[in-house]
């Protein structure tokens, strides 16, 4: 973005846990530099000053779950030159998309005593089902270094370097012992996008897929593998249905298994 004025940034929240926008405040060492380089024009979680649009970059956290939010996201798009979605809620519908596999009408009375006041959509959907998205950053939560990379790339008019390969490759790069091979622990690493630094295998547990499907994954082969390791079909369905349950590849596999 070539301009003399500081680029103006906005941070928006839809249905989410705030964890992804917190990643921005978690850039403790970089925050003051970021604040020096850009104007944080709209970031309600951090400031009571609301700067009016348009904005050069909008970061969007959360999924669309209410009729009002389905309209609000269009306003955000209109106000933003570049719109970047951050986290599994915004890129895949998040954990709240588990409702997409059930009847939300049945969910409401399980949680709320006065269901007549609840206004909600049947599905929790990612932002890109509603508006054009310039870049999607994965993870539940996102990795703050990847966030800084995306930020830098857009500020300098280049393409972000966010590799689409699997967690397995990160495991190899780190020299982790494979938990599947070494301990027979089920691991979604082969179908999950890198970005976390292969955190779970380093802590002796299998990846549970919080970064969502990698580019061209093979979830069917993954499912067969898990089944050979003794996992029940229900558990395989559950493992594809977590924070990225509604992401295309994971959704298709869990539905195929369920309806088989």
């Amino acid at each position: 973005m070539k301009q003399t004025k500081k680029p103006r940034i906005a941070v928006w929240k839809f249905a989410s846990c705030d964890g992804c926008q917190l990643s921005l405040l978690d850039c403790e060492d970089e925050l003051l530099d970021i604040v020096g380089a850009v104007e944080i024009a709209y970031f309600p979680e951090a400031s009571r000053a609301f700067g009016k649009g348009p904005y050069d970059i909008s970061l969007v956290e959360g999924s669309i779950t209410t009729p009002h939010d389905a309209e609000r996201i269009h306003q955000v798009r209109r106000l933003s030159k570049v719109l970047i979605t951050i986290g599994a809620c915004a890129t895949a519908g998040g954990i709240q998309a588990l409702r997409n596999f059930a009847e939300v009408e049945k969910y409401i009375p399980m949680v709320y005593a006065s269901p007549q006041y609840i206004e909600t959509l049947k599905k929790s959907t990612p932002i890109n089902e509603h508006v054009f998205v310039d870049f999607e950053l994965r993870g539940c939560p996102i990795n703050k270094y990847q966030l800084l990379e995306v930020f830098n790339a857009y500020l300098n008019g280049r393409k972000p370097n966010v590799p689409p390969h699997s967690v397995c490759l990160e495991c190899k790069l780190n020299g982790n012992a494979c938990v599947m091979v070494a301990h027979g622990t089920p691991c979604l690493g082969p179908v999950t996008q890198a970005g976390c630094g292969a955190l779970c295998p380093a802590y002796n547990r299998g990846c549970y897929g919080c970064f969502g499907p990698k580019e061209t994954p093979n979830p069917t082969a993954m499912g067969e593998w898990l089944s050979q390791m003794g996992m029940s079909e229900e558990d395989i369905v559950r493992s594809f249905r977590t924070f990225n349950a509604y992401a295309e590849a994971f959704r298709r596999e869990s539905e195929t298994l369920e309806y088989r």
């Binding site: 846990c17 917190l22 604040v35 400031s47 000053a49 954990i95 969910y107 399980m110 005593a113 206004e119």
Partner: protein, 439 residues
């Protein structure tokens, strides 16, 4: 808006409204209605969309609960992980003790440090110093903000060490952990924590010097109490009016009621009304168990309990940050690594309860699981929904007392009064009834 506009005029009616309450985690708005110089309505509305955690937990494996419930709130995931793990352990009849219990306390200290540092400096201090945000504040208080960021970072590092990462840690399991990091990594935290302890002392001194809006109320404070320690992840539920119950009796004493003025369901104590959880409650109930450094400093600065002014919670949060640094240092100083990363569990059908002290107050969980360990029922009561009624009462009383302030000033102070609670709205909404009024 005319800033010198006064609300107090004969027969004047007015409304104070903040449509998007900033610097809280989540989305909320507040609404106060004044008629003939009397506050007739005070509402703290939450318009965060519902996410239905209790519903979709049904049908999941018991061991998934810590990972799933963490996603209720990115600021206090450990509270959800610990309460849910404890509830499952309770259902299976096991207790996590010894070195594993200490490591759980250690990661919880990390969460208290990062969450308190975030709230005190970045979300609440700007109110007291008259800035729109920490970013605006940084221009004049550069060194303070740098120190704040470092302190927060050390809390995060503690969570990363024990939990793998600071937002939604991956290492918390029912029964303990998946992996115990090597001793050196714990020892490497000691020097940082010593720095953090000194920084926390400065944090207490800084906040103790703020000017506190005048409001004192007779709250019923509710917190966990443990005979041997300042309670974090285990204890009985006690109150300043003599409540003393096991956490599994919670539902006999607390309920949700429909309150006409707000149309919202709010937690109250049966037959007693609103109550208050969080730092002030813990401090007033468990002060004796704080380390000498906290007690000394509190005495020196004139903050001995009972502290009943909600605006002073910022000082108590700072004192608790100091406590958490001391406690983390104690744990690392006596470090014993567990033999196994987690205790063995025998899955059986049953109901279990968990309750721990989130930075904002008690986070209560109840689950029923079947003989295969599949969750059949879940109920989660987060801290903010328990404080909601008290928050509205604070607002009502505060506005009534300060009707002569300029409208803009009073509106800001109302926001500040709600930020006293560090309201974590993402947490509260999956439980609260929403009243959505879109303009």
């Amino acid at each position: 808006m005319n800033t010198s506009q006064r609300i107090k005029q004969k027969g004047r009616s007015d409304t104070l409204k903040v449509d998007y309450l900033a610097r809280v985690e989540g989305e909320g708005s507040l609404f106060v209605k004044i008629k003939d110089n009397r506050v007739v309505d005070a509402k703290f509305k939450i318009f965060e969309p519902p996410r239905f955690f209790e519903a979709f937990l049904r049908g999941r494996n018991y061991y998934e609960a810590p990972d799933i419930t963490a996603r209720i709130c990115g600021i206090c995931p450990i509270a959800y992980q610990m309460s849910s793990a404890q509830a499952m352990e309770n259902a299976f009849g096991v207790k996590v003790e010894g070195p594993l219990r200490e490591l759980r306390r250690l990661i919880y200290c990390g969460e208290w440090i990062q969450s308190h540092a975030l709230h005190v400096y970045m979300l609440h201090a700007p109110d007291f110093l008259g800035y729109e945000s920490v970013i605006h504040m940084a221009k004049d208080y550069g060194e303070v903000v740098k120190q704040a960021l470092q302190l927060k970072k050390i809390g995060n590092e503690l969570m990363q060490l024990v939990g793998g990462r600071d937002i939604h840690p991956i290492n918390v399991a029912v029964g303990g952990f998946y992996y115990i990091p090597p001793r050196e990594r714990f020892l490497a935290m000691a020097d940082k924590l010593k720095w953090a302890r000194d920084a926390a002392v400065e944090m207490v001194k800084l906040t103790a010097g703020f000017k506190f809006p005048d409001l004192e109320r007779e709250y019923e404070f509710v917190a966990l109490h443990h005979p041997a320690e300042y309670a974090i992840a285990e204890g009985r539920l006690v109150s300043t009016s003599g409540l003393d119950i096991d956490i599994n009796e919670y539902e006999n004493y607390f309920e949700e009621v429909h309150v006409e003025h707000s149309n919202a369901l709010q937690s109250v104590m049966k037959g007693r009304g609103a109550y208050k959880v969080g730092p002030l409650a813990r401090y007033n109930l468990n002060f004796k168990q704080l380390p000498p450094s906290c007690k000394r400093l509190a005495k020196e600065l004139g903050f001995l309990p009972p502290v009943k002014n909600p605006f002073k919670s910022i000082v108590v949060r700072s004192l608790e940050t100091l406590f958490a640094c001391e406690e983390a240092l104690r744990i690392i100083g006596n470090l014993e690594l567990p033999e196994a990363p987690r205790v063995e569990l025998r899955v059986r059908a049953g109901t279990g309860y968990g309750c721990t002290e989130a930075p904002r107050g008690i986070c209560w969980h109840k689950y029923t699981v079947d003989e295969k360990g599949i969750i059949r029922f879940a109920r989660i009561v987060p801290p903010t929904s328990q404080n909601q009624k008290t928050m509205e009462e604070d607002l009502r009383e505060y506005v009534q007392k300060h009707l002569d302030l300029p409208k803009e000033r009073l509106t800001w102070e109302c926001e500040q009064a709600l930020r006293n609670y560090d309201p974590c709205i993402s947490c509260a909404t999956h439980f609260l009834k929403l009243e959505i009024e879109w303009e």
